[in-house]
């Protein structure tokens, strides 16, 4: 980073303090982006540790690694962390870092709102984890929430959830949720208003299009969550009975409200994965993205349909057959635009010259695993099948194929791809390949057997199980997979630390790529571009590198 002169108040202070001060007061979209992503990765380590504890406990029937209550806190915190404190910040962070660069502008539309959003997220996350110390639990100790990440009522009512752990869950997510809404609005405004000269909507990189839809979904989906959390807070603190069936409230109301947020949220999390691979696969296949206009249409329709599928989380609730049938139809319908995307990525690879560098390896891992997760998703949409495997380990396997095999793999792809731009140095390819292969093996070893244990009758969220049920082999496999994953993450961390100090200098455009961010220096200066860029097509650098055959002739 170019060191800015220390601010007047801090003259004479230690340089490390001055540097910390710069980061704390920054409104630079790139620094905020980095802070989002680094915080997200730290929470990823914590959430991963929680998962590893659970897998240790479940490796064999009747294990005594953690107490039942502690196990319930582990899966609650694992789910909450991974969705709200890992997925959300990394997607907001990468949009923050890349969108202004890709559309050739200097910063986000509202830089200070941007910083505000980050700090709300950051302190919301800390508030949630402070429950381990602050929330009143047994013997005066703290206790983390233990109601599950979707916090079904009436388990969250004061009758069943004593102490304050559930209040911490509400407040932590409420605070960070407002941050997400702020950043969502900021992204929409930035993308609509601040594109460089020549960049019409249909000349934006697909990444930017997907992030636009994603930000709109954030703005539409987060407020219902905030509203229902406030209602729950009223129930717990002010004596209202929205979700309390014993006093005329409705347990199903919470489910409707939560999943009205929760299902768009799933797409909010997976759309960035689509955004990353839509940039990476073309560059490493050396071909333009196949079917850009249809990809835009598919993104818009996924965003639209995702607002109308939430009841597929509730097929076992006992709603009428007509309701279940209608939501089965909408859920199946969303497979069509998603399928279009798969086909278009594969078509992009066909006829290319595929370079299997680490970002591409992770992207291909995404294609295979997301394909699998998407197909089990179609299976789950089939209501009668869902009656068997809903809330079983089959579902756990399914959504980890989507969110881990899908989103997390593309996050790694994105880190390997854009790290040179952010830091000015390349990550090690050798360590990167170790990272990929170990994670690929470990991931599949852990999550593929879960489909089997689920179909053999194993419900999710149980802290132990009986030996005679025939689940022990599959659970042992799942737990062994964790060792591979942990090793893979160790390679990743080592790669980051080592490459920051000794990595090969990247230069402006190490991958021979085509979008605007590769025209500026690595890392980019605080003002991004010395001269305001001007584009004539979706791939300005292609036009520059191939003046004889520019894109704008064909778009």
């Amino acid at each position: 980073m170019t060191a800015a002169p220390p601010s007047p108040q801090l003259q004479g202070a230690a340089p490390s303090l001055a540097r910390l001060h710069e980061w704390v007061v920054t409104v630079d979209h790139k620094r905020l982006g980095i802070m989002y992503i680094v915080t997200g990765l730290l929470f990823f380590m914590i959430g991963g540790f929680e998962a590893a504890m659970m897998r240790w406990q479940l490796a064999w029937p009747g294990m005594d690694v953690v107490m039942p209550d502690e196990f319930n806190r582990l899966f609650t915190m694992h789910g909450t962390t991974m969705v709200f404190l890992v997925g959300m910040p990394i997607l907001l962070g990468s949009a923050n870092y890349l969108v202004p660069l890709m559309i050739g502008t200097r910063d986000m539309a509202f830089p200070r709102l941007n910083a505000f959003g980050f700090w709300l997220f950051f302190f919301g996350g800390l508030l949630l984890y402070f429950s381990y110390f602050g929330a009143q639990g047994l013997y005066g100790m703290g206790s983390a929430p233990d109601v599950g990440w979707f916090a079904y009522a009436p388990l969250t009512e004061r009758t069943f959830s004593r102490g304050h752990s559930t209040d911490y869950w509400i407040l932590g997510l409420l605070v960070s949720g407002f941050g997400s809404i702020a950043t969502g609005i900021n992204l929409v405004a930035t993308i609509l208003c601040m594109r460089c000269k020549g960049m019409s909507m249909m000349k934006m990189p697909l990444f930017v299009w997907i992030m636009l839809i994603d930000a709109i979904l954030v703005v539409l989906a987060m407020p219902p969550l905030a509203a229902s959390q406030i209602m729950l807070l009223f129930d717990r603190s002010l004596g209202s009975h929205f979700f309390d069936p014993q006093n005329g409230g409705s347990a199903v109301l919470w489910q409707n409200l939560f999943w009205f947020f929760g299902h768009p949220e799933v797409y909010i999390l997976i759309l960035p994965a689509f955004a990353f691979v839509s940039e990476i696969i073309p560059v490493f296949s050396r071909k333009v993205l196949f079917g850009y206009p249809l990809m835009v249409a598919a993104t818009v329709s996924i965003g639209f349909i995702s607002l109308g599928v939430w009841v597929h989380h509730m097929f076992a609730v006992g709603l009428s057959p007509a309701v279940n049938t209608a939501f089965m139809a909408s859920t199946m319908l969303i497979a069509v635009p998603t399928g279009i995307k798969m086909f278009n990525w594969i078509a992009t690879m066909f006829g290319g010259q595929i370079r299997l560098h680490t970002p591409m390896l992770f992207s291909i891992g995404f294609l295979s695993q997301f394909l699998f997760g998407g197909l089990t998703g179609i299976m789950l949409a089939v209501v009668p099948f869902d009656w068997q495997v809903s809330d079983s380990y089959f579902v756990v396997g399914h959504f980890h194929y989507v969110l881990f095999g899908g989103l997390v793999f593309t996050i790694f792809a994105a880190i390997y791809y854009w790290f040179p731009k952010v830091s000015g140095r390349m990550l090690s390819e050798t360590l990167g390949k170790w990272h990929f292969w170990l994670l690929f093996i470990g991931f599949n070893l852990t999550f593929a057997p879960m489909h089997v244990s689920g179909m053999l009758g194993m419900p999710r969220r149980i802290y132990t199980y009986q030996l005679e049920r025939g689940w022990e082999f599959w659970n042992l496999l799942s737990s062994i997979g964790v060792l591979f994953q942990a090793l893979a993450i160790a390679f990743f961390v080592w790669n980051i630390i080592r490459s920051l100090r000794k990595g090969k200098p990247a230069g402006d455009d190490p991958w021979d790529a085509w979008t605007l961010e590769w025209t500026t220096t690595s890392p980019p200066p605080p003002w991004n571009y010395d001269i305001d860029p001007e584009v004539r097509s979706r791939r300005p650098l292609w036009d520059e590198k191939h003046p004889e055959d520019p894109d704008w002739k064909y778009e």
Binding site: M67, P68, D69, Y152, P154, L155, F160, P245, S250, A251, R286, G291, Y292, P293, L294, A316, V317, G318, P321, N324, T325, M328, M332, A335, V336, G339, F343, I346, A347, M349, F350, G351, Q353, I354, R355, S368, L371, F372, L375, I378, M379, V383, P384, D386, W387, Q388, V389, D391, M455, L456, G457, P459, R461, I462, Y463, T464, Q466, G470, D549, E555
Partner: protein, 344 residues
């Protein structure tokens, strides 16, 4: 590959599953949805095979395309040779094809599944069905046989036939506290047990046996040990079981001391023993405790040792459950268990 593995595991466990001998406690097999023993579970499995087959074919084709692309179009040199491949921006006919074909597949799948929903999800009891009300409690199951006039817990007994005809069972699901979910995979799909709602689930057993399942909606500390045991009997065995359940509790005077002790402790605030002053409803009905194979909603077999440990301190067996240690002495525990053991 794992699908093949599963199927093999399922078939081996299925063939090993024992048939219930009358009067004996049969061991249950793996609660696998691929080993259905009841009409709705079978109907679900038929649909499952169809959707699995369709998805497997799509998976193989798409995965094949991905692998083919990597092998066929991998660059000869790691960083290319300076040339770029032809740029193809898209193709309307091709893109139309992979919009329309998935739409058609999804439409077929929708029709099949929709028919399944309306066939399986019965809101009214089938004619002549045995009706049982299931009440989910943290963390045990109450089974009310209303027409037969008794209540039992944790172990559901149903007949295979009635008057020689196949007997349907119609369950009414209610909750006393939070949301639970009733799931015995070999007999039917799951249905949530929601406070303030009345749900229904329908079984039609096809074979005598012992089937296991458990609560499938997270409900608190002991969600993992909210187990369900279902016994499907011959008609004669079932009628014998019903006749026994309908009796009031045994008044065996050999255990009079234990009975007096039991009736003088707080046990009676939560437990019912019909024919005594114990009439609490927060906890399982103990009138015929010894007719049950397990205690603690299935967590341990109902043996004298387990029963003593349970009465002494349930929290060591099922940490977090609502039954406290009653701070009895060893002698008192023995007396009470001696009494409980008379409740045949």
């Amino acid at each position: 590959m794992w699908i093949v593995l599963t199927t093999s595991v399922i078939t081996t466990t299925a063939s090993a599953a024992p048939i219930c001998a009358p009067g004996m406690m049969p061991t249950a097999g793996v609660p696998s949805m691929f080993d259905p023993r009841s009409a709705p579970a079978e109907m679900i499995l038929d649909i499952t095979w169809l959707v699995t087959a369709i998805c497997a074919v799509i998976f193989i084709i798409m995965q094949g395309l991905i692998i083919w692309a990597i092998i066929r179009y991998r660059a000869k040199h790691a960083d290319g040779d300076g040339s770029e491949p032809p740029q193809v921006y898209g193709s309307n006919p091709v893109e139309l094809a992979w919009t329309v074909i998935p739409l058609l597949i999804v439409f077929v799948l929708f029709l099949v599944s929709a028919r399944g929903i309306f066939e399986i999800d019965k809101q009214e009891p089938p004619a002549g069905a045995l009706e049982v009300t299931v009440v989910g409690h943290r963390w045990w199951w109450e089974f009310d046989y209303g027409a037969q006039g008794f209540t039992t817990a944790n172990e559901l007994h149903v007949p295979l036939t009635k008057d020689g005809e196949s007997q349907a069972v119609f369950l009414t699901l209610e909750s006393a506290d939070v949301i639970h979910s009733f799931w015995v995979p070999q007999l039917a799909g799951k249905k949530d047990v929601v406070p303030g709602r009345t749900n229904h689930l329908w079984l039609q057993p096809l074979e005598i046996g012992h089937y296991v399942g458990q609560c499938a909606e997270y409900c608190g500390a002991q969600h993992a040990n909210m187990l369900i045991n279902v016994f499907v009997h011959t008609e004669a065995d079932f009628n014998r079981w019903v006749a026994n359940q309908q009796r009031a509790a045994s008044q065996n005077n050999d255990a009079a001391k234990g009975r007096d002790l039991f009736l003088s402790t707080a046990c009676i605030n939560c437990h019912t023993i019909r024919g005594t002053v114990a009439n609490g409803t927060f906890a399982p009905d103990l009138t015929h405790l010894m007719s049950r194979a397990t205690i603690g909603s299935g967590i341990v077999p109902n043996t004298p040792d387990n029963l003593r440990n349970w009465v002494w301190d349930p929290q060591t067996i099922k940490p977090g459950c609502d039954m406290p240690s009653m701070k009895l002495t060893k002698d008192e525990t023995d007396l009470i268990c001696t009494y409980l053991e008379t409740l045949q």
